[in-house]
């Protein structure tokens, strides 16, 4: 610290000086004028600042051009604050879409509005479990509308503490605790994200770029599998649309994503520190509890006049084979409908819904999602008794 600091301290510690009557200049509080000052480096600040500003603007522009040249476009980031803004649009009689990314990509809000008479609110989330949102809407005593719940067994029955469940819980928690500052930040971020391609969380951040470095891991390291790269855009209503590059038959991006789904949807080996039989018993308990909780939430909603319909959206090729094997319909979908007594629409049961191809095996292209939604409407109307 500079010597002025110790001067300041000395003055403060000398009561004789300090308790003298204040002069006019000191009349506000009676203390001595400031003696402590931080040292300021004596360097040519103006010139340096201009150079820094020029470098930063040039680097940001170059990065933006590069990102666009490799296929990235401006789109909103899906985060808890955007989800919360959408959640706040739910009215007592709204139609709400919840669940995972298939409900997010595959359902077109315009077509559903045309067919159902109301514009649905999109609350499904990528890689998310629909249960926390279902429970939140069931606990919302003002809500007695309709819930369309996309069902992917691996995600819907994800136990507490797993990423799909945490994603849903975090979003719900934020909707109850969002501060004015967080809300303001979201409003400020949206126009920027709509115009700047490199503002892409979970994709073009420094952290994500580092994760892409081809560095081999230790053979025994239990490292979480990678998530798929950017393949969709999002608007302010949280309507997700697959990018053209991903939808283009045989594209490299498509193939990369297909190969990422397989390890992501393959059941992870039990943790090393829990015996396999104990782990399997815990998982079974967790799934049964989720089923019981879901039944309770549906009943609560139904008692208020609300409706729930579960939908199983298209999945194709290698991923369908994997899902059919690891989460067979008779062990997941059938008991869910039986337990809740809610109507359900399984894409395979209807020829007009089963004929779609998912470019990267898990989601429909933007164009197909419109046609699919159009064909889904009559089934939804029937299921909801409209």
């Amino acid at each position: 610290m500079p010597s002025s600091t110790s001067n300041f301290k000395r003055i403060l510690r000398l009561p004789r000086l300090f308790f003298r009557p204040p002069t006019e200049a000191e009349s506000v509080h009676g203390g001595p004028p400031l003696e402590f000052e931080r040292p300021i480096p004596q360097i040519p600040w103006r010139g340096m600042t201009v150079v820094v500003v020029v470098i930063v603007i040039a680097a940001a522009c170059a990065w933006e051009f590069y990102c666009r040249s490799i296929g990235y476009g401006p789109t909103l980031n899906d985060n808890e604050d955007l989800w919360t803004l959408t959640r706040q649009r739910v009215k007592p009689e709204s139609i709400v879409i919840i669940g995972d990314s298939r409900g997010w990509f595959d359902l077109d809000l315009d077509e559903l509005q045309k067919g159902l008479g109301k514009r649905p609110v999109q609350l499904a989330m990528g890689g998310g479990c629909g249960y926390p949102v279902l429970a939140d809407l069931a606990a919302d005593k003002t809500f007695h509308g309709t819930i369309i719940c996309s069902f992917v067994p691996w995600l819907f029955f994800a136990p507490p503490g797993t990423p799909p469940m945490e994603r849903g819980e975090k979003a719900v928690r934020r909707s109850h605790t969002q501060t004015p500052a967080q809300r303001a930040s979201q409003y400020l971020a949206m126009p920027l994200e709509e115009h700047v391609a490199f503002l892409k969380q979970e994709e073009l951040t420094l952290d994500d770029l580092l994760k892409r470095l081809p560095i081999p891991n230790r053979s025994d390291a239990r490292v979480p599998p990678r998530l798929p790269p950017y393949f969709g855009t999002l608007d302010r209503e949280r309507r997700a649309r697959m990018t053209e590059e991903c939808a283009r038959p045989g594209s490299e991006l498509q193939k990369r994503i297909q190969q990422i789904w397989l390890p992501l949807f393959t059941p992870h080996p039990p943790p090393s520190y829990i015996p396999t039989d104990v782990f399997m018993a815990k998982m079974k308990d967790a799934i049964e509890k989720r089923a019981r909780d879901t039944i309770a939430a549906v009943e609560k909603l139904r008692a208020r006049g609300g409706k729930v319909v579960f939908i199983r959206l298209p999945v194709t090729s290698g991923l369908k084979a994997l899902e059919d094997k690891t989460t067979p319909r008779n062990q997941t979908w059938d008991p869910l409908l039986q337990g809740t007594g809610a109507p359900g629409i399984y894409f395979e049961d209807f020829r007009e819904l089963a004929s779609f191809n998912c470019p990267e095996w898990s989601h429909l292209s933007a164009g197909d999602s419109v046609e699919f939604s159009k064909r889904l409407v009559p089934h939804l109307r029937a299921a909801l008794g409209m």
Binding site: V28, H29, G30, P41, M48, V56, A59, Q182, I215
Partner: protein
């Protein structure tokens, strides 16, 4: 409002522009008070009322202390201030903790009691602004400060937004004198403030959140046993994370204050180059350690009493310092460990004395690394949410699980290693000077490039508005 948020960037730009555009000093101070309350209210508006009420009470009590005719009256008013502040802190921060421990104690003597769980929302930064406010009445009582006549000035001293929620703990006696005369806009000071804000945000967003936080969170959140390498790396990652997080906030606060013409003192001075624990506490969270020293350790007798009493004083101070950080026994153990370290150090100094060989650089380096290792061990209790995790971590670190899991990717190991290496290099290189001196000595192109690189890295990282660790305290 977080420093690393878009809202703050807009808020700060508006406040700074308006502040330097207004000529009247009174109007400028009014602007800062309003801005500070908006800054605080942006988290939870009702808590702004709580902040104002404690500030107003201390303002009034400060005047009563100064006007009191005799020592017992002065003491009574001071006790009133201390009780008011600490009971507020106690209710919001320690309410449930006290009830849980009371329940546990009753259970030990066979009484079954189920207290209601108080659904208390902790006002952000309450530990900091309570101390800002408390320093005022304490200094008036000690006779080193006269009460201010302006409630607005005192409100500003307590709530000044750069340091309001996570420090540094700025004493009223350090801030009030700066409200006498209006500061002049100096381009160098303003730009240095902006550079410090860039440095602070870089430390927080890039180094703490991006390079280290993920690994530390995964290691401390893992429910199973870990091999020694991963356990140590998790703790080392946390040691770096908490430094960059908190020092980053303090640097931002100092920079933001400079942009407005105010001078806040350093809160960190390259603490991981500390040689010994006394040195560590002269470098880490300096505003808290000096607060505890001046208002607790010295009134208890400091080191002018018998050796055993001084040792007990140290442990008491560090116990309370630990508790200040959080309502959990893990924080208490962290504080006690530091108290224990300090006692050992004082005893060693008494035994060994000042020998020539202790001035040797190799010895200093060795002692510095021992200090760093011991500090890291203590961080285990600070970061672990309970003793089960802390015990498992310590066991892992000392080879208790040779067949435990390895969960860090090679990339994460490299990130922790590289960031920690350069952090230690910077701390040891700069341990005897300050950042200002370093910047003055460096070639211009290096400073310019570093500033631009940090700004680019912040933009590239984008930030996810993670809260600063010390907000929870």
């Amino acid at each position: 409002m977080l420093f690393n948020s878009l809202t703050f960037i807009v808020f700060f730009a508006v406040v700074v522009t308006a502040y330097w555009s207004i000529h009247s000093w009174t109007a400028r101070k009014n602007l800062l008070v309003t801005a500070s309350y908006i800054f605080y209210g942006a988290w939870n508006p009702p808590f702004a009322a709580l902040l104002f009420s404690t500030t107003a009470m201390d303002f009034w009590l400060g005047r009563r202390i100064a006007k009191a005719k005799d020592q017992p009256s002065r003491r009574a008013w001071l006790v009133g201030s201390v009780c008011m502040n600490l009971s507020m802190l106690g209710f919001f921060k320690y309410g449930n903790f006290l009830l849980e421990n009371f329940q546990w104690l009753l259970a030990r003597i066979g009484i079954v009691y189920h207290p209601p769980h108080l659904d208390i929302l902790l006002p952000v930064g309450i530990s900091f602004y309570t101390f800002h406010s408390l320093s005022y009445t304490l200094d008036i009582y000690r006779g080193v400060l006269q009460p201010t006549r302006s409630l607005r000035d005192f409100v500003l001293a307590v709530s000044f937004f750069p340091q309001l929620v996570a420090g540094p703990i700025v004493r009223a006696g350090d801030f009030l004198p700066q409200l006498v005369r209006p500061p002049r806009l100096r381009i160098g000071q303003f730009m240095w403030g902006l550079l410090l804000m860039t440095l602070g945000l870089f430390e927080k967003i890039v180094l703490a959140d991006t390079m280290l936080a993920g690994s530390a969170d995964r290691i401390f959140g893992y429910a199973g046993p870990l091999v020694a390498l991963d356990s140590w790396l998790g703790v080392i990652a946390f040691a770096g994370q908490i430094f960059f997080d908190f020092a980053g906030y303090s640097t931002c606060a100092i920079g933001a204050a400079l942009c407005l013409g105010f001078h806040l003192k350093d809160n960190f001075r390259f603490p991981y180059a500390a040689i010994g624990f006394s040195d560590f506490w002269r470098r880490w969270h300096i505003s808290l350690s000096t607060f505890l020293r001046d208002y607790l350790y010295i009134p208890l007798g400091g080191n002018r009493v018998a050796w055993t009493r001084a040792a007990i004083n140290l442990v008491i101070v560090m116990f309370l310092g630990g508790l200040w950080h959080g309502a959990a026994w893990t924080f208490v153990v962290w504080g006690l460990l530091h108290g224990f370290y300090l006692v050992i150090e004082h005893a060693s100094r008494a035994l060994i004395g000042e020998r020539a060989w202790t001035a040797n650089f190799a010895v200093k380096l060795l002692l510095g690394l021992i200090t760093y290792g011991a500090v890291c061990l203590a961080w285990v209790f600070f970061r672990a949410s309970d003793f089960t995790i802390a015990t498992r971590m310590l066991r892992g670190m000392f080879g208790g699980y040779p067949h435990g899991d390895a969960i860090l990717a090679t990339r994460e190991i490299l990130q922790i290693g590289i960031v920690t290496f350069f952090m230690m290099l910077a701390h040891w290189s700069l341990r005897d000077i300050n950042v200002e001196t370093a910047v003055t000595r460096l070639p211009r192109w290096v400073v310019t490039s570093a500033w631009a690189l940090m700004a680019c890295a912040i933009i590239l990282t984008q930030g996810t508005s993670n809260a600063f660790i010390y907000f929870q305290f």
